[in-house]
């Protein structure tokens, strides 16, 4: 071993340690920034180390690639609004997975076209490579569909047809069958490209039937797959830092998937193959539905102004209406009057884990006012006004009261325990899941229809005139 290799390996080891420290920093908002700077430094060292690689013949494409990528990344990083964070994240899962798949394909091509000794392409290596390519390609297309759904290019409603699950399962089985065949016969070029195509196709078909409301789980799962594809790249190239970083990413996504599923009381299989909210017959409690009570803006303004404690419960509607700044303004006005303001955040509110927290933080809401489900639920009985902004399923009391409901058992924010509930809603329609929400019919609940941002801005004015 010469000095160069020691340097490269050292840079990778340093990067691995710094990545772990960086993620450890994320356990608290105060330490998170420094943690990320450590991780950034680690990344830089690893890249510099790699550029020292003695086998590299030409730097032209590397430098062009680094420049183009940095420009794209910087543009995305600076200009993407916080409301579009789920789309951006979906896109970056696609990029990461695509890069992993491409590295695998390039390696396979080099082996089977005589650029690298075919004898080195053993069963083990082919196994790692096949895994990388399969997972990488299906995550690429799956994430692109998720991106399309979040961006509104692809319909957010689940796309279902008869025999869908059987068709998808067969497709997956054939893909895995080809993968296993390739492990035994690595030189089978045609089966390889068929497997590649099927994996790309499967990614599309996997995500198409999943409804927008299930996006937090899908995002987490795709995150996990993209990470594992990177880890598999590490196995193929026998590169430890790649294995470590990929595994951290993969497990992070996995843990988030489990947390999101738990927050909806559903299993991952159910999310992937259940096509939730497509055509499920709704079993409501009979006779419970009455009239929704529409309230006037001024009444609510008075209620808010004379309240002791107000809890805001945001949902995806807050993001679509871009109402995060308006809610913050209303909160400030109330606080100046001595009202205690808190925010109750459900884990699956929004389209990705933590979505609401980021939006509210953007609007300068201090994080000490953001409360998790378990923390805020005991507070509702002493809350004067609970204001639901563009959230639906996460406050649906049926999840708690009606064992026949499709969302039975899902932990909810128990706003109906508050002394008064105000629901800001665009129209009288049902939520994304298509479920009736008994909360809207409770005597304690008042409905305020209209664009959330507009309504909140008007409320600010009205409260000031109380």
């Amino acid at each position: 071993m010469n000095l160069q290799i020691y340097f490269i390996e050292f840079s990778y080891l340093l990067a691995s340690v710094l990545f772990i420290l960086g993620l450890k920093g994320l356990s608290h908002p105060e330490t998170a920034k420094r943690g990320m700077h450590l991780a950034e430094f680690g990344m830089m060292m690893a890249i510099i180390g790699t550029l020292m690689h003695f086998e590299i013949v030409s730097y032209t494409w590397i430098i062009v690639g680094l420049l183009v990528g940095s420009t794209l990344g910087l543009a995305m990083g600076v200009w993407v609004p916080m409301t579009a964070m789920p789309q951006r994240t979906a896109l970056s899962h696609a990029f990461g997975a695509f890069a992993a798949a491409l590295v695998g394909i390039a390696e396979y091509y080099s082996y089977t076209h005589g650029f690298k000794p075919l004898a080195e392409l053993g069963h083990v290596k082919m196994g790692a490579m096949g895994f990388e390519i399969m997972l990488g390609s299906l995550t690429t297309t799956g994430s692109l569909i998720a991106f399309g759904k979040l961006q509104g290019i692809v319909p957010g409603k689940p796309l279902v047809y008869r025999g869908q699950n059987i068709f998808n399962m067969t497709l997956l089985a054939v893909t895995i069958g080809l993968f296993i065949y390739l492990i035994f016969v690595p030189t089978a070029v045609i089966p390889f490209y068929v497997m590649l195509t099927l994996a790309f196709l499967f990614g599309i078909l996997l995500v198409l039937p999943i409804g927008s409301a299930d996006m937090p789980v899908v995002m987490s799962l795709l995150n996990s797959y993209a990470g594992l594809a990177s880890a598999a790249t590490g196995f193929v190239l026998n590169n430890k830092v790649l294995i470590i970083a990929g595994t951290l990413d993969g497990f992070s996504g996995f843990i988030l998937s489990i947390l999101m599923c738990r927050a909806m009381n559903r299993s991952i299989t159910n999310v992937l193959f259940g096509a939730f909210g497509s055509a499920a017959p709704v079993v409501g409690i009979e006779g419970q539905q009455g009239e929704m009570r529409e309230v006037s803006l001024d009444d609510i303004a008075v209620q808010l102004a004379y309240a002791n404690k107000v809890v805001f419960v945001p949902g995806y509607g807050l993001a679509t209406a871009q109402a995060q700044h308006a809610v913050r303004e209303l909160a400030s006005v109330l606080e100046r009057r001595g009202v205690t303001v808190k925010y109750g955040i459900h884990p699956v509110a929004g389209r990705m884990p933590g979505h609401m927290n980021v939006l509210l933080a953007e609007a300068n809401v201090p994080y000490s006012q953001l409360y998790e489900l378990e923390q805020i639920n005991p507070e509702f009985p002493t809350t004067d006004v609970a204001m639901v902004i563009g959230a639906n399923d996460v406050v649906n009391p049926d999840a708690r009261d009606n064992p026949n409901s499709p969302i039975a058992g899902m932990p909810i924010l128990e706003v109906d325990h508050a002394k008064s509930v105000v629901v800001l809603k665009r129209g009288q329609g049902k939520g994304f899941s298509g479920l009736e929400n008994p909360l809207f019919f409770k005597p304690v609940t008042g409905m305020l229809y209209g664009d959330a941002k507009d309504t909140l801005t008007k409320l600010v004015g009205a409260v000031q005139h109380v």
């Binding site: 990528g69 995305m76 650029f115 083990v124 190239l237 790649l242 990929g246 979505h355």
Partner: protein, 98 residues
């Protein structure tokens, strides 16, 4: 890949998985979005693999592999730079008090 290096790689994988579980389960839901973009940026480390392929290593190197490597470099770099920039931007917004 020899079986020894494969076994070593599996060791690394298993330990990283264990460590990842420990570290990431301590991240509060408050920071789940930054967590996702941070891990995304970090796993953009696959850039180091793409670089070596785009640079055409070895005595014989294939043009096809180099082109694929080049696209992979673009994708990974976008993730690394975009991921870190956006994570920083988000974390700067989280404040305890006004």
């Amino acid at each position: 890949m020899s079986s020894e290096s494969m076994i070593a790689a599996i060791y690394v994988f298993a330990l990283a998985a264990f460590l990842g579980y420990q570290v990431i389960s301590r991240v509060p839901p408050l920071l789940h979005t930054p967590l996702m973009s941070a891990t995304n940026a970090i796993s953009g480390i696959s850039l180091v693999g793409s670089i070596v392929i785009a640079g055409g290593t070895g005595p014989h190197h294939s043009k096809v592999a180099m082109v694929l490597g080049f696209i992979a470099v673009v994708c990974s770099t976008t993730n690394v730079v975009g991921g870190f920039v956006i994570t920083d931007r988000m974390l700067r917004m989280f404040k305890r008090k006004k």
